[in-house]
Amino acid sequence: MKSLIRILFIGVAFLCLSLNDTNAQSSTQANQSKMFDVYETYAGKDGFTTVYITPKMFELFANMQLEDEEAQEVVSIVKNLKGIRILVYDNEDETEDDDGNTLTVRKNLYDPTTLYNEFTNLVPRDFYEDLMVIKDDQTNVKFMVHETSPGTINELLMLVGDPDSFVFISLAGIINLKDISKLGNSVDIDGLEHLNKLETK
């Protein structure tokens, strides 16, 4: 009986090792794992939207018939990306009353600032360092990077917490901040407005 248990335990240990070997390809994943546990916890919960896209999908973007310049710029950026993960918590819901008036309802399922703090605390500081931190009286924005060598960013994290939303974006790959910042207009668009616009289509 005892020897059987011993064999079983050795077997499991072996499995663990082999699984880790094939999966922990880069320290990236090991380090991101804690954050992604939290990410996975929230994915699928009411109010949350999560998106995960890999290079295979990015490759296809290049083949899409894209008309505007901005779209082409997006394609040129994603060519160098290994992956993008997005998690958004939107505290507001738009509904309509019987007269067809739009009402904005606060879900209040989660507090965006608390989410912001939770995620921020989970980011391993030995792997990522602060790039930019902006604190408004209502909004928190944090950019963090992982550099393989000075000036070469291969991972970028953005966390935004404002009264009505929390956004977490993670980009992995060869990241050129200059190219990315050329994308948006210089006008500060509340990114979530985009989400809502797509919704009404």
Binding site: V12, M57, V187
Partner: protein, 212 residues
């Protein structure tokens, strides 16, 4: 169709926008607009798609297998419901029996202990095996969250299909949105920092001025 008929249609259409048409009149309009486009005067053609849409919807039907599938599902539910009621019945029977056993000696077997002695001796091993399976399972799930299981993209956990143009579009839009937001936040953050720098500069100047 004669000139007069077109006028009639035009009038009906006006009533239609006002919400003043009867169902029969609406049917007339639908019938008119469902003709081939060539029979419809140009000034009325813009409204053809609307009425055609309404007609098109009328022709939508649920898939042919639906009814059969539905009947099977409902039957299964009924069976489940029946089982629940019989289980409840046996439970109450067992309860009644145990109450009865408190009274004059009625020997009732204890239903929880397995009678079979072989089964009994295997229990500890089975529980270890179960724990191990759970452990292996959780390791798999754990690594699953941090690795690409061959998925190309997911939205809210739902895997997108590379071969589906709509899925590709969705993925693209999401990417574009994320990058655009990233971009605009980077830009505004930079602006904030610039202001901060200016502020720092001006305080430095003030300080140095004060020293003089």
């Amino acid at each position: 169709m004669s000139h007069m008929d077109y006028n009639k249609i035009k009038q009906l259409l006006e009533l239609y926008w006002e919400g003043e048409t009867s169902l029969e009149q609406e049917a007339q309009l639908k019938k008119f607009f469902n003709q081939d486009t060539n029979f419809i005067p140009e000034y009325l053609r813009p409204y053809q798609p609307l009425f055609r849409t309404f007609e098109a919807y009328q022709e939508e039907t649920i898939s042919t297998g639906f009814e059969a599938k539905m009947m099977a599902t409902l039957q299964a539910i009924q069976v489940e419901e029946d089982n629940e009621t019989t289980n409840k019945a046996t439970d109450t029977n067992a309860q009644n029996m145990s109450i009865a056993s408190a009274a004059p000696t009625i020997h009732m077997p204890n239903p929880t202990k397995p009678k079979n002695s072989i089964v009994q001796s295997l229990y500890p091993l089975m529980s270890i095996a179960a724990t191990l399976l759970l452990l292996i399972g959780s390791i798999y799930i754990y690594t699953g969250t941090t690795t690409n299981n061959g998925e190309v993209a997911t939205i809210n956990g739902q895997v997108l299909d590379i071969n589906n143009p709509n899925d590709r579009k969705k993925a693209f839009e999401a990417t574009k949105m994320a990058l655009t937001m990233l971009s605009s936040k980077i830009n505004t953050s930079k602006k904030h920092l610039k202001h901060l720098n200016k502020f720092n500069q001006s305080t430095q100047i003030l300080k140095s001025k004060n020293r003089k």
